[in-house]
């Protein structure tokens, strides 16, 4: 029983994380992680700056199909 609860909890945690990644909620966190791991020298964008920059990039190429 406890094992099943643990599995369910793990599944829900993964699902929540996947949902956040899917909809773009976790995009800024990914950006910060990537920046930290690569130690890039350019300035770190604020969350608001990153959000606008990311949208401008995403919607400048085909992102939705027929």
């Amino acid at each position: 029983m406890r094992k099943a609860a643990k599995r369910t909890k793990r599944f829900l945690r993964r699902f929540w994380r996947g949902l956040r990644e899917w909809c773009g909620d976790a995009a800024y966190e990914s950006y910060l992680r990537s920046k930290a791991s690569h130690g890039a020298s350019c300035r770190t964008l604020s969350q608001a700056e990153f959000y606008v920059e990311q949208l401008n990039r995403r919607y400048s190429r085909p992102s939705r199909c027929c």
């Binding site: 990644e21 969350q47 606008v52 949208l55 190429r61 085909p62 199909c65 027929c66």
Partner: protein
């Protein structure tokens, strides 16, 4: 032992799929239950994924998980982001699944359920999925390059330019035809018009929230937005019941055309965070919810499919669109079976986010199978309604008659009994003024969906709510494709215009933005206007044009893929891409020829124009209709020219590619492959899903 059990299980799946498909094909007489379609489709998809995609991955592509993908090599947290394969599957599916797999099968249901169902399953397994998968693979091996760039590098400079032009031209037709579907869905419908209009302030509210209050908190903003959208769907009933507001939101086709053109222009020119992006978030959530609900509804209700397997309209005299099964069924159902537009997504964002090459099989091949299943569900929803009702909703008044009595008599004379009051009662039940002559596929699909939903939850009392929820869902994500497409089209115009006059190519230059937005909106706006004033409803001419364009783009993608694979020395298995390429070229060239030159004025654009010109010369056209008829003649000739240009562009590319293939096979030319050099992945031996030391945690790569 485990292996024997696995083989046994797959044999059962294959047997179930084949039996159900066989039952669908040979069944005649009593209505068939929708579960046969679900079992047939799922069985075939599972076997296709397990066997054919594995064969393509191993033999044709030789996917290499030891090779670092662009996401690993260029990881910048922006474009190149290593992403969990299931998350990326969701991303990719949300990007490829638009209104096409819902509208196309609904329109093709005029032939009966059989041709469309077989094409959806076989076309996806052997054509569409292969295209998406192979192009994704080619793009991964080229740092996520686009289809146009790959065509330029691997086929020829001219090939790349043609691919770029083809994308722009097809996008114009796509935007026009989907806008026409929205116009036909909202025409004379205050409830639906109000609901959709309200999504604009809701999206702006979300945009402001996401920009200034809680930047980037997409999930919480989307949940609020979805709640508001559901509220306005219900509130639309009050608007429809109010004499004043009902009058305000009852718009004609031309008024809706003007509103959609203004909306498209605004969404293209305004900052993307204000309107376009938040609408896209709303649309993605509602799309996922509606598709999941439709699947659950079909499984719970298990409706009877009332449409016969084949209707009398296989002879080419269909009221929804004219033309025989071959080639018109194959171009009417593009998305859901084979869609060229997917190659733009497969060579766009997805290859830059994929974690390892092996994931391309699930994402490229698997996501397209799921889209095909959406098409099957749309086919079931359309075929679950009485055939008479289906034809009443989808046929133009010039064919069935302008009054409901005349319409019911015409449709009954075709062998599909219909009483005039049936349509009146149905319109009343779904909260519409009328359901007659609502061509475009959206209203009939909404009726089908509403019947399935209301049988699951709420009963007949909620039929009108479910109908308007379905209309809102379709219109919302059609407008999302429209505004995102207009914006991308604007960039394409700027890029092409920049070759003529450099300042136009600067993306941040406001006069350039306004001018290019005007150009792209004027182009699709004109075709939309043409569809709205067309006495046959517009869908009859524009949807085949879009289907031809989309399938031609698929042919372009497969030609590029075949060239790359030949250069890689995969001659033995080249039939995997060559056969669908040849089939698509055959289908689209036949359809193009028939749409231009067929002597039947309902099929051929030129004979349609000549027929009207002859009527005018014979004095059969009333004086007040002369201007309108002249415009129709011009439009038909324009459509013929556009079709010829589509076909011409693709023929040039195919000929260029054939020369390339000959040079490669005869070893007359050097096969130069523009692939990124091999770099071994850091995750190859011990792939634990922790790509960058321990910082990422297990968020990325859990298989």
């Amino acid at each position: 032992m485990k292996r024997i059990l696995s083989i046994f299980a797959w044999l059962i799946v294959a047997f179930l799929g084949a039996s159900a498909l066989g039952a669908i094909a040979i069944h005649r007489g009593e209505p068939l239950n929708a579960m046969w379609f679900v079992v047939a489709a799922l069985g075939c998809y599972l076997v296709a994924f397990r066997l054919y995609s594995a064969f393509v991955a191993a033999k044709l592509l030789a996917l290499d998980d030891t090779r670092a993908t662009p996401a690993e090599r260029h990881d910048d947290g922006r474009d190149f982001v290593p992403t969990n394969k299931w998350v990326l599957f969701g991303h990719h599916f949300a990007a490829i699944a638009g209104p096409g797999p819902l509208v196309g099968p609904t329109l093709a249901a005029q032939f009966g359920y059989l041709p469309g169902t077989i094409w959806l399953i076989a076309g996806a397994a052997f054509g569409g999925c292969v295209q998406d998968f192979v192009i994704l693979f080619c793009s991964i091996r080229r740092d996520g390059k686009s289809l146009g760039q790959m065509a330029r590098e691997e086929v020829s400079e001219r090939g790349g330019f043609i691919a770029q032009l083809a994308v722009l031209a097809i996008m114009v037709i796509l935007l026009a035809v989907i806008a026409l579907v929205v116009v036909n869905a909202l025409k004379s419908s205050p409830w639906a018009t109000f609901t959709l209009a309200m999504t604009i302030p809701i999206a702006i509210l979300l945009g402001l929230y996401l920009r200034f209050v809680r930047p980037g908190r997409v999930l919480e903003a989307s949940i609020m937005g979805v709640a508001l959208v559901i509220f306005v769907v219900v509130a639309g009933q009050w608007v429809a019941d109010s004499p004043y507001w009902s009058h305000v939101f009852t718009l004609s086709g031309l008024s809706l055309t003007a509103a959609i053109v203004i909306y498209g222009y605004s969404a293209s020119a305004l900052p993307v965070w204000l309107l376009l992006a938040p609408r896209d978030y709303l649309s993605a959530f509602i799309k996922a919810g509606a598709i999941f609900s439709l699947a659950a509804g079909i499984l719970l209700v298990r409706p009877q499919v009332l449409m016969p397997p084949l209707t009398r309209f296989i002879d080419g005299t269909g009221p929804v669109f004219a033309g025989k099964i071959f080639p018109f069924c194959f171009i009417t159902i593009a998305c859901g079976a084979v869609s060229g537009f997917h190659s733009l997504i497969s060579s766009g964002t997805t290859p830059k986010m994929i974690l390892r090459e092996g994931h391309a099989r699930l994402i490229g091949y698997g996501a397209m199978l799921l889209e095909s299943f959406v098409g099957i569900m749309a086919m079931v929803a359309a075929c679950a309604m009485t055939p008479g009702v289906y034809f009443a909703i989808n046929s133009p008044p010039s064919i069935v008659g302008a009054t409901s009595d005349a319409g019911a008599a015409t449709i009954s004379s075709w062998g599909y009994p219909l009483q005039a009051h049936t349509m009146t009662n149905l319109a009343h039940a779904v909260g519409e003024i009328t359901l007659w002559n609502r061509a475009g596929g959206a209203p009939s699909l909404a009726v089908g969906m509403a019947q399935i939903f209301s049988n699951t939850l709420g009963g007949p009392r909620l039929l009108s709510i479910w109908y308007h929820f379905a209309i809102m869902f379709e219109a919302l994500f059609i407008l999302t494709v429209l505004d995102a497409g207009t914006r991308v089209g604007r960039f394409m115009v700027q890029e092409l215009g920049g070759r003529i006059w450099a300042p136009l190519g600067r993306r941040g230059w406001m006069p350039g933005i306004l001018l290019s937005s005007t150009v792209i909106v004027a182009m699709w706006g004109y075709f939309l206007y043409q569809g709205v004033i067309d006495p046959l409803g517009g869908i009859n001419s524009l949807w085949p044009l879009f289907g031809i364009g989309n399938q031609l783009l698929a042919a372009v993608a497969l030609v590029v893929a075949t060239t790359i694979l030949l250069k890689m020395g995969r001659l033995r298995w080249i039939w995997v891409t060559l056969v669908p390429t040849a089939a698509l070229v055959l289908v689209t060239m036949t359809a193009s020829y028939q749409k231009i030159f067929d002597p039947n004025p309902l099929i051929g654009f030129l004979s349609g124009a000549d027929d009207r010109a002859a009527q005018m010369a014979a004095g059969k056209i009333a004086a007040e209709k002369i201007v309108e008829t002249n415009r129709l003649i011009f439009n038909l000739r324009l459509d013929a020219a556009v079709t010829a240009i589509f076909a011409g562009m693709v023929l040039v590319l195919v000929v260029e590619a054939i020369f390339q293939w000959y040079a490669i096979l005869s070893r007359r030319g050097e096969a130069v492959l523009h692939e990124s050099p091999y770099v071994a992945t850091r995750w190859a031996k011990d792939f634990s899903g922790v790509p960058h030391d321990t910082v990422v945690g297990d968020a990325i790569g859990e298989d």
